[in-house]
Amino acid sequence: MNVNPRLYPLLATIGIFVVAYLVCWIQFPYMLSTRVAGNLLTDNAYLGIVAVGMTVVILSGGIDLSVGSVIAFSGVFIAVLLRDTPLHPLIVFGLLLLVTTAFGAAMGWIIHVLAMPAFIVTLAGMFLARGASYMLTISSVPIQHPFYDLLKDAYWLMPGGGRFTLIGVVMLISVAGGAIVAHRTRFGTGVFALGGGEQTARLMGVRVGPTTMGIYAFSGFMAGLSGIVFSIYTGSGYPLATVGTELTAIAAVVIGGTLLTGGAGYVLGTLFGVLTMGLIQTYIVFDGTLSSWWTKIVIGVLLLLFILLQKGLVRATAIRA
């Protein structure tokens, strides 16, 4: 049984995660506990969700720089609405997802109609969303609502004392949903086709406009969902939150084995990308003597490693062709 070469980056990602976990476990046996595993999922839930959206965008050959700001906007939007109106959080969530999805769709529309680079359009979106958060409030707004306390404390106590929290579940569902959208729908095939080459995709019958709008709408939706999860995680809305998260998400996607230029990758890989980054952080906490900046250094090294790996794979396939 020989392995399909398209799986190599995904296998490399999973391999690195497993090896990293082993290394951690040898040094700190407690790392292999449901507590650590549960926290890994919970602490990285918002990043995982937004990275799923980012994966789809990057698969199409685009980029979405607005998501960090959209997460902050979501937190502030929820906090202010819950403070100033009697609306139920679920209604607020619905409204928010509507807003962020429409925001993403609008960016996709501009990218397609004006034939502008996604980088510039979503950069504008990043400033817009950040600015909109400041319009709502300039300070941190705590969220106090009985329903929120319920969400925050919703977890399943795993054997060994680990908490499998609701937001961790939401992330796993998002990954599964993203994987289905990307790998099991015609829309998903269209996304890969765009990443492979817009001209060819058009010739093969991809409706480029609607697909582009769909891609950024999906990313907007995921950013909104991530914002909800982040607000549950922090219990507040703060306009200065999650600055630079879009870049962390991009890093997770690339470490997850997705080709930054688009057209190849797996959503599942992104989950492992996120978990690997979370694992590094956990290790540093366990160690206690290392500065937290080591996280950044390791992530940087991993990123470089993956870029090299992908370049090598692209070369290898190009030579055979």
Binding site: R6, R186, A193, G197, Q199, G205, A321
Partner: protein
């Protein structure tokens, strides 16, 4: 008649790309569409596939009038196209490519198993044994072409247009592809085959239609047509049948000193290794049909593509020209065929375009003083009679002929010893033609050597001392002295140095 086109016309601003063209395609035939650049082949195909709207005329498919307005509409009507490049997506699996847009679904999700099953069914009968779950990019170009054909046939199934399908295939792959095409013909498809490789046309096609300057010249049965006649049709030159034998003159003794000697320069799949000696002050012409390797020869000489074999020397020893930088340093100059994209920088002024190569040669640390720039620009504007209101006008605003002179001026300013001009008169008006030719002669009087590539045989023989004839990416013959005549060139292009049976094996 499966497909019949009557009186098809299409104009673009300034040109009439198609002028009352008739074309017929029977079910179960392979019909070649031939013509040089600008003959109207691609316009005709684009009208058929819906990429262009025609201005006049009618297209009937199975007797029904059709006018497709998009590629997908043409596909649904039954006209499928396979292009040389950009066809399918190498990053998707073979199965995804084949079933794109009509993936089998279960519960709204693509059913991977059924998809692979369907793909295998579609590939049935093409003699391919490949894993449809692998990326298309993992397979050779020939396999990709066949996959593309399988997709087009499955989607459309009446008319299959193959646009230069063999351009990047080797001989074995061409055979494999031809077997597939013959099989499809026997299944009753009408196949339009566009290619520059005449051997392949003769090996594969039942009939052929020649276009020239947007008009249909002739439709003939391939078996009844000889090569010379075909090339006359394509190039538009009537040969004097009486003087059939090519004039055999001894090569004129040329006592001019040797400037450069290319020995065995070649690159696999680009041009077969060739030898060429260039004398000081000589003008050499490269003749051949489109795709015969003319431009590729020039690119190898100038290092646009790095030669894999051979060496070059001059009087002082070896000369390196593996990259354009080295070639420039060796005193070479190259004015490429596609002036608009490779020759001029439209937004820069005449002056800036002229000094461009010179400045690049000096390096950015030694800018050419403005006064000197002005002097150089004014000098060449006067010398070459470049018609511009002033040296600071953007080059894009000038006429084609004047743009070409600016490109010439840029290289002349470098004072190269060897200048390559690829189609120097393409797309410029007749008056400017004569001027460019006059300039070529003037330049060589000062001792510079020039290589000219041109499809205009009359122009070529007017300026050159020697002509190298290329065919199928090979330097076939060298014509000198009295042999430099349209007749002899056409005959050299047409001559087949192998038996027709072997054409298939040789075709590449």
């Amino acid at each position: 008649m499966l497909l019949s086109i009557r009186d098809l016309s299409k104009s673009f601003p300034g040109t009439r790309a198609l002028d009352g063209v008739d074309f017929d395609l029977r079910a179960g035939e392979v019909h070649a569409l031939l013509g040089e650049n600008g003959a109207g082949k691609s316009t005709l195909i684009k009208c058929l596939t819906g990429a262009y709207r025609r201005d006049a005329g009618e297209i009937r498919l199975d007797g029904e009038k059709i006018s497709p307005s998009s590629t997908s509409e043409a596909q649904e009507l039954g006209i499928g196209t396979v292009y040389q490049e950009v066809n399918l997506l190498p990053n998707l699996t073979v199965a995804q490519n084949l079933t794109f847009g009509r993936e089998p679904r279960r519960f709204g999700m693509v059913d991977g198993k059924a998809q692979r099953e369907l793909a295998r069914e579609m590939l049935d009968g093409y003699g391919l044994d490949i894993d449809v779950g692998r990326d298309l990019g993992a397979y050779s170009v020939a396999v990709r072409q066949i996959v593309a054909i399988a997709r087009a046939v499955a989607l459309s199934g009446k008319v299959l247009i193959l646009d230069e399908p063999t351009a990047s295939l080797d001989a074995a792959e061409v055979r494999m592809l031809f077997d597939v095409i013959r099989d499809l013909r026997d299944r009753g498809l009408g196949i339009i085959f566009v290619s520059h490789f005449l051997d392949q046309v003769f090996a594969l096609c039942d009939r052929l239609t020649v276009l020239r300057n947007g008009r249909k010249i002739t439709t003939e049965t391939t078996a009844d047509l000889d090569r010379v006649k075909l090339i006359e049709h394509m190039l538009g030159h009537e040969l004097d049948r009486a003087s059939e034998e090519a004039a055999t003159t001894d090569s004129v003794a040329d006592d001019r000193p040797e400037l450069l000697r290319f020995e065995g320069i070649g690159r696999a799949g680009v041009v077969e290794p060739f030898d060429l000696t260039i004398r000081k002050g000589e003008v050499i012409g490269l003749a051949g049909l489109l795709g015969s390797g003319r431009t590729e020869t020039a690119e190898l000489m100038f290092g646009v593509r790095t030669p894999q074999t051979g060496k070059t020397r001059d009087a002082d020893g070896p000369v390196s020209h593996a990259t354009p930088r080295e070639a420039i340093a060796a005193g070479f100059g190259f004015a490429p065929e596609d002036r608009k994209t490779h020759g001029i920088i439209a937004d820069l002024s005449v002056r800036e375009n002229i000094i461009l190569a010179m400045q690049a040669h000096r390096g950015w640390t030694r800018p050419i003083p403005r006064a000197e720039q002005d002097a150089i620009a004014e000098d060449y504007i006067a010398k070459l009679d470049i018609r511009t209101s002033d040296a600071d006008k953007p080059v894009g605003d000038l006429s084609g002929g004047n743009q070409q002179k600016v490109v010439l001026a840029r290289w002349l300013a470098m004072n190269p010893r060897y200048l390559i001009l690829d189609e120097p008169t393409r797309g410029i008006d007749v008056g400017a033609h004569a001027e460019i030719l006059r300039l070529i002669q003037e330049i060589t009087e000062e001792g510079m050597s020039i290589l000219v590539i041109s499809s205009e045989l009359d122009e070529l023989i007017a300026v050159v001392d020697r002509v190298i004839v290329l065919r199928d990416r090979k330097h076939m013959r060298e014509l000198t002295g009295e042999e430099v005549a349209t007749d002899a060139i056409v005959r050299a292009i047409a001559s087949s140095d192998h038996a027709p049976d072997a054409a298939r094996d040789h075709a590449r």
